[in-house]
Symmetry: none
Subunit: 202 residues, 4 copies
Amino acid sequence: MSNGRKKGDHGARRLQIAEATCNVILKAGVERAGIADIAREMGCSTGVLMHYFESKAQMLLYAKNLLFDHVYAAVQAAGAEHSGLEMLHAMAMELVPVDPAAIDRWRVLTAFNGMAIGSPELQKAQASRNARFAKLFSSAIRRLQRAQILPSRLDPFVEGAGIVALVDGIAGQIVMDPRVWPVKRTGELIQRHLHTLLHAPR
Amino acid sequence: MSNGRKKGDHGARRLQIAEATCNVILKAGVERAGIADIAREMGCSTGVLMHYFESKAQMLLYAKNLLFDHVYAAVQAAGAEHSGLEMLHAMAMELVPVDPAAIDRWRVLTAFNGMAIGSPELQKAQASRNARFAKLFSSAIRRLQRAQILPSRLDPFVEGAGIVALVDGIAGQIVMDPRVWPVKRTGELIQRHLHTLLHAPR
Amino acid sequence: MSNGRKKGDHGARRLQIAEATCNVILKAGVERAGIADIAREMGCSTGVLMHYFESKAQMLLYAKNLLFDHVYAAVQAAGAEHSGLEMLHAMAMELVPVDPAAIDRWRVLTAFNGMAIGSPELQKAQASRNARFAKLFSSAIRRLQRAQILPSRLDPFVEGAGIVALVDGIAGQIVMDPRVWPVKRTGELIQRHLHTLLHAPR
Amino acid sequence: MSNGRKKGDHGARRLQIAEATCNVILKAGVERAGIADIAREMGCSTGVLMHYFESKAQMLLYAKNLLFDHVYAAVQAAGAEHSGLEMLHAMAMELVPVDPAAIDRWRVLTAFNGMAIGSPELQKAQASRNARFAKLFSSAIRRLQRAQILPSRLDPFVEGAGIVALVDGIAGQIVMDPRVWPVKRTGELIQRHLHTLLHAPR
DNA sequence: AATGAATGAGCGTTCATTCAT
DNA sequence: GATGAATGAACGCTCATTCAT
């Protein structure tokens, strides 16, 4: 009877709270997501939440970072599984939301994005999020340049940021109305954008 | 004839309130933009705001629509002043924020975008905003197709939505950190994206 | 062309305001009867009301007194037109509300009655209202005693207050649901009560 | 088993709040009875009140019903302890307020009565209150008819409503000035009214 | 660890009243 | 006289946070 649990419970509980937080945000929006709602969603009392997080703000931050990390890891993994220009395509397609779960994830991130306005710290955090994704793509681009698949005159970071911009833009539309961007159409647009890298003007 | 107080410049006051609203949102974020803050920003009492708007929600909506209309008209005007592929480029460059005032406009719109999550009506409104911009671009594309500048096999609406996506994506990054996208760099990326329209695969 | 008006307008306007006040109270209740509502009901601005009354409280008071005086005069008139026990009956039947207009009058008075709780002055005013009606009836009773129709051992004021109590009680029920007391039934009950005066125990 | 805070005496707290509510209404009137005042009266914060009631309206309703139930039960009990015509007399005397506490109860009920004007629902509730009391008396009357103490030609409900009307009318005067109706005088008037039931005309 | 009652500042909104026109 | 914009205190209510149990 090794009832040797107890460790790890703490983190698991935080994850559970973050998930509940996201669900509430999806249902009611960030500003109407109160801790009472989150507690109800979890089926516990509000006091519990304050045991695991110092404040509501930190709870939200944790949830956002979790979501971000999740997407980041998925994109990174997609990059590792492909090569050539295909790598960039796979990464971009992993970033763009194509199923309901991913769309919901993006919705929550969009809510946080809006929250960042008016808060220099959150704004900086979002800028850094953008930069991290741009870097992820720029690393891939640099690899393709070294493999002489992409021309060396391209600025990897700028091109990375460009791909992220296109994907974010598409996601921003999907989040409001998923019907505009069926997967096939999305894939074609991204494909075309990536091809411009091959023959970029000097 | 009628004595009594002057009519009062109802519309002008609403504009003034909308401007103050945007300023407060920029400083403090949508969720911390209380009507007391807006009143303070305007240098009047909170009661005034309720004279001109039925509720805070309508005040925000009015401010958002004003901002949207402003940008929309600018893009439309830019389209009217150019021809050829240049037209699309001019429109896109008008949409992308390149000066501090435009960046602030986009910031406020980003805040509203976040607010839409969790509210089906606002979400629908944002979807319609996206569609209207896509349409603006698709009309231009159709004109270029008729002039045989762009291949007729392109779906004008999809391409329009694609341009909007790219621009929104860039704007989304500028809003958080303007240093990533100097005007020149932005212009080149958009240029390259527009050129893909010329040789789009069948 | 004697346009010699101007005098009396003041009083007429106050009457008009009092009437509008009663209408609003009937529609929305005393506590939800705002100055703005009354102004709207009259088709004028709120400022007008403050020209004719020093405060909202005085406006309400004026309206209440008007209503009271109206009913008082009607009861008094009914007494003057009859003699014998019939006089008391006619007076009581004038006090009890039997048509929609009278019911509405009573409703407003009921609202004011409730308002008096918690306000010693208004409470005193209501007590005095009750006393004035009791006196009206006790005068009649005294007259009937002098005419040896009613036994002299009756205390006229107590009996007067008793008749008022019965009528007020019936009115209080009618105000909430008029179906309980059709005129005929009301008349019979009052009749019976009045007959107890004839053979009141020593 | 379950750890955590004690259950808390939910019902007791509601009673306490209702009592405080009544006290405030007596001191200041229904319309000036704010939840801040009630909280001050209770010696707690306003938030507490919202823990125990969904809204101020429900708080008032609860207080009113409590008062009503209290009086209703007392009248019912008085009926059970007597027989013959004495039963009706005892019930009526229980309903009429004869001590300061009962007068205050009636005052609060009078305030609620005024509140009902302009609100169809509350008006209906008051009508139902009247009907319930009339029924209480009509049951007693029916019992006396079966015992052949009262003539069977009387309509029990009408007579019940009549007794309630008389008592309510007396109470309405006591509420504004208790000096008018000393207990003895009240008892005699009611007695006389009840005797009319014995020899009611066909 | 967990509870949920309690707090109290803050919210959007209402409204009697004032006053420049 | 008349207007209605402006005021600002007060309202009912919400909610993150605290804390005794």
